[in-house]
Symmetry: C2
Subunit: 306 residues, 2 copies
DNA sequence: TCCTTTGCTTCCGGTGGACGGAAGCCAGCC
DNA sequence: GGCTGGCTTCCGTCCACCGGAAGCAAAGGA
């Protein structure tokens, strides 16, 4: 429900708080006049988070000084806070003196219903899909204007992807992203359509009107086919996962070599499998029966699947 | 490196900070005399962590009042802190008003090298092991006196397990745990052997002398077979995963029906596959080549362990 | 060997933000 | 209507956080 649009204008508008830039040059006693006392309006928790945000996939291990510099904190302050974080286990200090994200923090994060909770129930279906295609299978949810990848099964020989578990991508360029956007609250859609659409390849949709039509098509078909929009060599087929109240809570996709490349795969053949897996997950997480289908599916039957 | 034993007695002795119990009754102005001001010696970060610790697998969603009660904080204080946590994304508030662990926290936790970093590289080997056995495959690391499960692949028809991703178990009762313990620093081993060994089934090892012999056997064979120590119906075969400097950083296991049950599996047949997978992972994460050493086991070598 | 640099840790006085009681508010229920 | 339980806001008090400065240790360079 973070930055969701059930309320018109929640406190946190949509994105995540940006990382504070480094202080202008190293000019001490410059603009921020307040010489002593803490910098204006910053809470302790805010500083703690700014420390955690310093870590990312390209910087998994940092020394105290690096943390202090990147989080724009005095070294002594960073020292104290980092010490408290490490004492609890949110950070761990390696033999080299560098700090890393700690196991304890991962443990708590694993309780997030929208990540691991979802993942656990989706896993059997993802496995099946993976077995059937032997390519890349992905599970993602939406957070603000971005898709967050919750799980990824990648065959070593499959097309190489840019996504990572825990990584983010803009919604308009990926298969799962387009699905999540197509079923997002109108406010979110308009907001994305209003902002400039960054281009990754020559095939990325950058025209809002085209994107709008694409989204309508996805809503109609219940599936998205996204060819070469992030990487010209790969194509993804994505479908929505629905939860309680029939709301779209996640999306799955299969990523295969684009048919325009040697060894490419025709997307048409993948659509049924992806859609079936998405429906399976939806049922597993408590979605109501998929409309008035001819089949009288009974959601509560403990169908052994196998 | 949390609570690791390179230093004899770090600040945090070994376990995780215990959850503070509820205040004695509801007696106000009772024992804790300090009527105003914050409770003795508690830091802001400490309170934030105490809030996060309130969540566990059995309590994934809590209301403000429940959080305040469980964390032993005044409601107004909890309200402020929870608000800051939710603003950042560490918590999310559902439509029902309850708070849950947020996606953002999971995202940061995913950067922990000992969890997701390890998992990513181990996954292909775990997949293969899963395919070969169609049972349960697990990956775990040690934190203090407990094993933490980092990944688990479970076939729907396989033996039901009590472990969960992100869950903890004492080291002496599980296959991966015994492996992790066998190769843990001597201080940790002695500490575990000195403490009472809780029993889960009639087969759980509770005698320190027996455990000591078992660990020696595991070091000798490079594999642990653990039959019915948590659940009489299941048996696990585990092997160590080594990292840089040849230190044991994780363990993997396959859990199958115990041979003493109908449909049970003879562990002997699984050993080669588990060992091979463990070696594969070790290689993938940068362990030195296994070499042909007739294992002159040196658990206590000062080697800086990197 | 001495000096410099870089980074980490400890210390301590001042103060501004955290604290939490109290009051207000809103549903749901008897 | 009155009541209960839970959530939110407000504001005066005060103490824990803050961060400059000094001390330490290790790594390089002359």
């Amino acid at each position: 429900m973070t930055s969701d649009a059930s309320k018109p204008a929640p406190a946190r508008p949509v994105g995540r708080p940006r990382r504070p830039g480094l202080p202008s040059g190293s000019g001490l006693t410059s603009s921020a006049a307040r010489s002593t006392g803490r910098a204006g309006g910053e809470t302790v928790t805010g500083r703690v988070f700014s420390i955690l945000e310093v870590f990312d996939h390209d910087h998994p291990a940092l020394t105290l000084t690096e943390i202090a510099r990147a989080a724009a904190l005095p070294v002594s302050t960073a020292h104290r806070l980092v010490g408290e974080l490490a004492a609890w286990g949110a950070l761990e200090r390696g033999a080299d003196g560098a700090y890393r994200i700690g196991l304890r923090l991962w443990e708590v994060g694993s309780l997030a219903p929208r990540s691991v909770g979802l993942r656990e129930r989706a896993m059997p279906f993802l496995e099946d899909l993976y077995e059937a295609t032997r390519q890349n299978v992905q599970l993602a949810v939406r957070d603000g204007h971005e898709g967050v990848y919750v799980e990824r099964l990648a065959h070593p020989d499959a097309v190489r992807l840019f996504s990572r578990v825990g990584g983010r991508w803009p919604l308009h360029g990926t298969g799962v992203g387009q699905v999540l956007l197509a079923f997002a609250p109108p406010v979110v859609q308009e907001s994305v359509l209003a902002a400039p659409l960054t281009s990754f390849t020559a095939r990325t949709i950058t025209d809002p009107a085209v994107l709008r039509r694409t989204l309508a098509g996805i809503r109609r078909d219940g599936v998205a086919v996204c060819d070469g929009m992030i990487d010209l060599a790969s194509l993804s087929v994505a479908a929505p996962v629905r939860g309680e109240g029939d709301a779209v809570v996640a999306a799955i996709s299969v990523v295969v070599p684009s048919p325009s490349t040697p060894g490419g795969i025709e997307p048409r053949t993948l659509v049924p499998a992806v859609r079936a897996a998405a429906r399976g997950i939806s049922r597993a997480i408590g979605a109501p029966t998929p409309s008035r289908t001819p089949r009288t599916l009974r959601t509560d039957v403990p169908r052994p699947s196998s």
